[in-house]
Amino acid sequence: MTIPRTIGFPRMMKEPGEKRVFLPEFIQFLARAGLTVYIEEGYGSRSGFTFADYHQGEEAIRQAERERIFQQDLVLVLRSPLREEYGLLRPGACLISMLHFPTRPLRVERLRQLGLHAVSLDSLANDISLRLVENMHAVAWNGLEAAFDVLERAWPGLRPPHGGPTRVLILGAGMVGKHAVEAATKLGNVERYQEHLRASGPGSLAITVGRALTRQPERLRELFSQADILVDATQRRDTSRPVVPNAWLDWLPAHAVVTDLAVDPYTLDTNPPVVRGIEGIPQGNLDQYVFSADDPNWDKTVPPSVPSAQRRTVVSCYSWPGIHPEACMRHYAQQLEPLLEPLLAKGYAALSPGGGYFERALYRGTLTAWLKSGEYAARPR
């Protein structure tokens, strides 16, 4: 592939609750940029979009069956297709997706073996290593919105029986944690917050502690006992050990809501095994992201060997931004548009780490750059 002429948009074959698709204005943008755009039949229909919404009389926008979508010069889909589907792409074509090169070695090898080009959206970073395609804001806000929704059902107007503000204990002060603090002080939703203000509600208090305190159980116990919402926004260096052992959940009040923003999986068949930050809580997705303590689905995602006797209501979702799909995809499209320009103008192979601002960022996200990186070279194969 030199200069790309066509682009395909396959549907995401994930859980039914996954409704995210690129919006018509983004598809129109690509057509105006000179590409012939193929969208899979039914694309966007779960969100109520029809082909006519995308087409808008533009001849360069067409619909096609799934196999043909994967035959285009570029294939753009937010969450990665199954590895088995990579073979549908033509050698030299370019897959653009959240590919997570550092944590998906099998995926990388498959792409390499098939002779595919790839751009990982989660690796696009500017000169100071800030991710350019991300929605940490939505991770935090959507997760906290779900948590406050649960509490509000028990406490209309979010007026806790203890009489004070809702107390939100946040573990972790990284990128997600920072957004979680703001979301916690705004009750997870600005509209609810404004109504709460007008009603002279008691508000909320966000409490953040760093790593030093999370290692001191006796200190945490006091904080846990006063928390209405517990948020895991940690980024652990050692994913084989939980931040909060299951037994500690017993310190939380019975009404407390555990909010999982870290969404690490349970992967027990690796060495060392990967466990969740808060031990014994289920992993949610867009079909179900609220789990009461007696939820029958609790054990479906928690391996039997993981302690889970202590339970509180949990909100957890693998794809928190997908809770509000249109807002999420508008956000991603806004971030993507300037990044795609150098790819459309030069083609994948000509991208250079010495190019312009967005070209450099794009290059950092390529499979080519990853394969040349020291991190890749250091991996056992």
Binding site: V209, G210, Y357
Partner: protein, 361 residues
């Protein structure tokens, strides 16, 4: 920049020489860079020369981080363009003056992307540098010199305002604003820092805020108030803080007793600091120099600085240089500010939003 002596920020050779290599004729004022030990040799590039102040201001474009004083602006030629932190929304007199001189402006603080995010900013340094100064003061004031004592309780930070600066405060506070110090204290099992974050809107509830103040070692104002005449914490409420508590002003709003009602800082009574002095003991004479309309009876250790990022000038200007480079490249490639299409590509749109000529009258 001719502000306080402690203001040592200059654009670094990496940015300036890149401009020259891209074909711009660059004039640096004599002595530029000497504040941080840079010499003319560090800036050497084809098309770059040093000149006097008048010559530097007589160019088509003048780039300076903080807005120059009026006498310097008068040295600019009508039609020339000033790139600086111009703060249009809060400086209407400056906007009028620049227009009267016939200048174009690109306000660095108004360069924003399509979602409204600033492209040239260093809010992280505001938080981290401010926290470092405040924790240094707390180390002095903490009872029994027990700042590093494993037996002391967790330090309690109360942060008012959870916006962009506040988010960085949370991160800085939980790390003592110093990763090395954090590692050392953690290794010694010294309890860490607990940060209570309060939204600005709830600070007016006395019954909500005052109990928190009584349990605060470090009080941080990171608010953006819609009404600068109403303090976030009235001076009288500071009496609830423990005697050793430290006040940290990150909002850096000014005092103004010439208007009615007077404009006050969020933490009422805290002296306004700058890069020459940004830490004030309770008995510092600066408290007594504040305007008479401001209540300063309750005093604690305080940290305040008009330009927190300037505390570490090189790091600050390295970041600004990286952020500004694609903007300047866009200007050069367009052939000048007049040729920039405000509806064009990403950086052209950002420049369009920052143009003085496109601000409402």
């Amino acid at each position: 920049m001719r502000h306080e002596a402690g203001e040592r920020r200059v654009f670094l050779p990496a940015l300036v020489t890149r401009l020259a290599r891209r074909g711009a004729q660059v004039v640096l004022e004599h002595g530029y860079g000497s504040e941080i030990g840079l010499t003319p040799a560090d800036y050497a590039a084809p098309g770059l020369r040093f000149g006097d102040r008048a010559e530097a201001y007589a160019q088509d474009y003048v780039i300076i981080l903080r807005c120059p004083a009026d006498d310097a602006l008068r040295l600019m030629r009508p039609g020339a363009c000033l790139l600086s932190m111009l703060h249009y929304p809060t400086r209407p007199q400056r906007v009028a003056f620049l227009r009267a001189l016939g200048l174009e402006g690109i306000s660095l603080d108004s360069l924003k992307d399509d979602s409204g995010r600033r492209l040239v900013e260093n809010l992280r340094a505001v938080a981290w540098n401010g926290l470092a100064a405040a924790l240094s003061a707390l180390r002095q004031s903490y009872p029994g010199q027990a700042f590093e004592d494993p037996a002391r309780p967790p330090l309690r930070v109360t942060l008012i305002g959870a916006g962009a600066v506040g988010a960085h405060v949370v991160q800085a506070a939980t790390r003592y604003s110093d990763e090395t110090l954090r590692g050392r204290l953690a290794a010694a099992d010294v309890p860490g820092i607990r940060v209570n974050v309060v939204d600005y809107d709830f600070t007016r509830h006395e019954r909500y805020l005052r109990p928190l103040l009584a349990e605060t070692d470090l009080l941080v104002d990171a608010t953006q108030r819609p009404d600068p005449t109403r303090p976030v914490v009235p001076n009288a409420w500071l009496a609830d803080l423990p005697p050793h508590a430290v006040l940290l002003d990150l909002s850096v709003d000014p005092y103004d007793c010439t208007v009615d009602p007077p404009v006050t800082k969020g933490l009422e009574g805290v002296p306004q600091g700058n890069l020459d002095q940004y830490v004030f003991a309770p008995d510092d004479p600066a408290w007594d120099r504040l305007p008479a309309c401001i209540d300063t009876r309750q005093r604690r250790w305080a940290a305040s600085c008009y330009s927190w990022p300037g505390v570490h000038p090189r790091q600050c200007m390295q970041l600004y240089g990286q952020q500004l480079q694609p903007v300047l490249r866009t200007l050069l490639e367009a052939g000048g500010v007049a040729q920039v299409n405000p509806d064009g590509r990403f950086f052209e749109r950002a420049i369009g939003r920052a143009l003085l000529s496109r601000q409402p009258a």
